[in-house]
């Protein structure tokens, strides 16, 4: 059974259809890149998978390990192993990062019927993961993403990914706003999490990110559907020729 199976997905926002019959199948262990021009529906797809309110699914389905994902609340999806690394992680003043991480991890574990982490075990785990991502301890004491640089916010997303151990990671424009050094650190963090038990969907506008996170499959989105799929060489082809050909094709 595929980990994620999207069939003929149609999605509207404010009565305007953004996705028109999108299909995608992702198996465990695979890394898929979704590329496409601005406005092709890449972020809409990531939001619908994570369960963001405001999107109306008018057709098709999304199955996660064979279950109807669209019937689940965002927190249920999270507990099942769906993780969205946000393009623009929000700032939450007044909630310390450490408090947030523990509350989230224990909420997911509780939903799965697992025991909550004890404080020392939790701290040990967070510190180890933070150190591997060059995240200083004082960042963990600050409010979630408050005063973080673009690179720090993205590293905080990857920290959560490492901590929550999801089976499906969706990385929405992870490279936006990052310089090349920050990008390398973030990509190393993601690569360390590649595993036969886990799949990743990397959404990006630019081929650049795929030099660091090398995908198994590349899909080109245009005007709300996947218009071409191929191996990693498709990304290079796009880099050379641009998206124009696909915009016409769609």
């Amino acid at each position: 059974m595929p980990l994620l199976e999207i069939k003929d997905l149609c999605v509207q926002v404010d009565d305007r259809e953004i996705l028109h019959g999108l299909s995608l199948t992702v198996n465990k262990g695979e890394v898929h890149a979704i590329m496409g021009p601005n406005g092709s529906g890449k972020s809409t797809l990531s939001h619908v998978i994570a369960g963001k309110p405001g999107y109306e699914v008018t057709g098709g389905e999304i199955l996660f390990e064979g279950e109807d994902l669209l019937e689940m609340s965002p927190d249920e999806r999270s507990a099942k192993g769906v993780f969205l690394a946000f393009q623009y992680p929000v700032e939450i003043p007044g909630v310390a990062t450490m408090t947030f991480l523990r509350t989230a991890l224990n909420a997911q574990r509780k939903a799965r019927g697992e025991s909550e982490f004890s404080t020392p075990d939790f701290l040990k785990k967070v510190r180890a993961v933070a150190a591997s991502l060059n995240i200083p301890q004082d960042m963990l004491r600050r409010g979630v993403n408050v005063g973080f640089s673009g690179g720090e916010k993205k590293r905080n997303e990857i920290l959560q990914m490492a901590l929550f151990e999801p089976s499906l990671c969706i990385l929405d424009e992870m490279d936006s706003g990052l310089d090349i050094d920050a990008l390398r650190v973030a990509a190393d963090g993601v690569n360390a999490l590649r595993s036969p038990d886990r799949a990743m969907v990397v959404i990006t506008h630019y081929q650049r990110l795929l030099n660091y996170i090398v995908p198994d499959f590349v899909h080109v989105m245009s005007k709300g559907r996947v218009v071409k799929s191929g191996g990693k060489e498709l990304a290079l082809e796009l880099e050379a020729s641009g998206y124009t050909q696909f915009e016409d094709a769609a």
Binding site: R77, F86, I92, V95
Partner: protein, 441 residues
């Protein structure tokens, strides 16, 4: 000649309440005369209603309807119930002073081994001792406010606490008001805290209900006098029963170079009104007031502050936050007066309301009366719902809707709670806020 007998809506003859209580009210001679006059003043005005500007949002004729008869003196079972309630609100490292149904309860209180420079008496003793200077201070609050006048007439007990010049108390003083009576009734208390020059203290006031206390009214008044170079940290926690009324008044006077920090949180009672007058009588003093209302159901909480910048070079900060669910109603009225001589005044107030329901209501009424020209004064107000993008982020990380809301509410009030300097008291406040959040389900 027609004699009109004032009656409440339910037909109870108002003057009977005073007449029946009179033999239980301490103080003879001059005090008894002041009480009689105060009661007459109250009788003339009656319960304040919405046509009186100051009570526009809190119409006690509609909400309270009548003043209940004086609560009975607590008997042994009442004291046992009070002791049980106290256990839930106990804090380590404080000197606890307990008033049950408006009467000081020595067995539940700690009045022995007083620190150097600390003196504690009951209001009853102070009124009966006939100390004219002290009585003048006790009766200083503005009797033209009907609820203050009623309190002057009816007060049965309270605490008179004095901190001598130079004495800095390390242990906070915790006054706990407990209602225990099963029969709906009213209690009237008044306390005085006088802090000498270069002295310091922390005062905590809690208002709670014992198991079985029904639809009671807590009428309290606090007189605070803060000397030159003195500092007071004050924490007020209104956790009264959900069908109770809490009417609290306060008169604060600060000397020069004095500092007052107030944190007040209301999560209990059906209707509450906190009306405080803060007077700067000496220069270079500072007041910070942090208020938090956590309300749901049909709760109504009104904070009405009057800050009187009578002298130059003083600073005041008022920050009020309200979290409102269901049909709750929060009122903040902030009046700042800067007198002609009060140059270099720095006064600001800010209110922020978080509405969790479409039917909740927050009313803010700032009033600035500025008669000096070299001052900094400002006010602001924001009202809004929880940020949807923050809620989604938290839910995408596994928090349920209620958990995500609770975390954001905690963050919203957390900044105010941070202003409580004492670690133990901050924990007390956090646990009160948590009780409210958990009760939301």
């Amino acid at each position: 000649m027609n004699v009109v007998v004032a009656k409440t809506d339910t037909g109870r003859v108002l003057s009977d309440i005073f007449a029946f209580a009179r033999d239980r009210l301490p103080g003879a001679g001059q005090v008894a005369e002041i009480r009689r006059q105060a009661f007459e003043a109250y009788e003339r005005a009656g319960l304040p209603h919405r046509r009186i500007e100051d009570w526009k949002y809190t119409d006690l004729r509609v909400l309270m309807r009548e003043v209940l008869p004086l609560a009975a003196r607590p008997d042994a079972p009442a004291l046992t119930r009070a002791a049980a309630a106290l256990k839930l609100h106990a804090i380590e490292g404080v000197r606890r002073l307990v008033l049950v149904d408006g009467v000081f309860a020595p067995k539940l209180s700690e009045i022995g081994r007083l620190e150097q420079g600390l003196s504690i008496r009951t209001l009853r003793d102070a009124l009966e001792a006939g100390d004219a200077g002290l009585q003048a201070q006790l009766f200083a609050p503005d009797g033209s406010n009907p609820m203050v006048a009623l309190n002057s007439a009816m007060m049965t007990d309270g605490l008179v606490i004095e901190v001598a010049d130079g004495a800095v108390l390390t242990r906070p003083v915790h006054i706990v008001h407990i209602a225990s009576g099963a029969a709906p009734s009213a209690m009237f208390t008044r306390s005085l805290l006088r802090i000498g020059k270069a002295a310091g203290a922390t005062l905590v006031e809690s208002y709670i209900a014992a198991d079985g206390a029904k639809a009671y009214q807590a009428h309290d008044l606090l007189v605070l006098s803060i000397g030159d170079n003195a500092r007071l940290d004050q924490v007020r926690l209104i956790e009264d029963g959900r069908d109770a009324f809490n009417i609290s008044s306060s008169l604060v006077t600060l000397g020069a170079h004095a500092h007052l920090n107030i944190f007040a949180m209301t999560s209990g009672s059906y209707v509450s009104r906190y009306q405080a007058t803060i007077v700067f009588a000496g220069e270079n003093s500072r007041v910070e007031t942090n208020g938090v209302n956590l309300l749901n159901g049909r709760q109504h909480a009104d904070s009405t502050l009057f800050v009187d910048h009578a002298v130059p070079n003083c600073a005041s900060r008022e920050i009020f936050r309200a979290v409102l669910d269901d049909r709750a109603h929060s009122v903040f009225q902030g009046r700042i007066v800067v007198r002609p001589k009060a140059q270099k005044t720095d006064a600001k107030m800010m209110t922020r309301a978080l509405l969790l329901s479409d039917e909740a209501e927050a009313d803010n009424k700032p009033e600035l009366e500025i008669f000096a020209d070299d001052v900094t004064c400002g006010h602001g107000a924001t009202t809004g719902a929880l940020d949807e993008s923050l809620l989604f982020y938290l839910r995408a990380r596994g928090l349920s809707e209620k958990e995500a809301q609770a975390l954001l509410i905690q963050a919203f009030v957390g900044e105010a709670i941070e202003s409580v300097a004492n670690d133990g008291l901050r924990e007390l406040v956090i646990s009160a806020a948590r009780r409210w959040l958990e009760a939301r389900g």
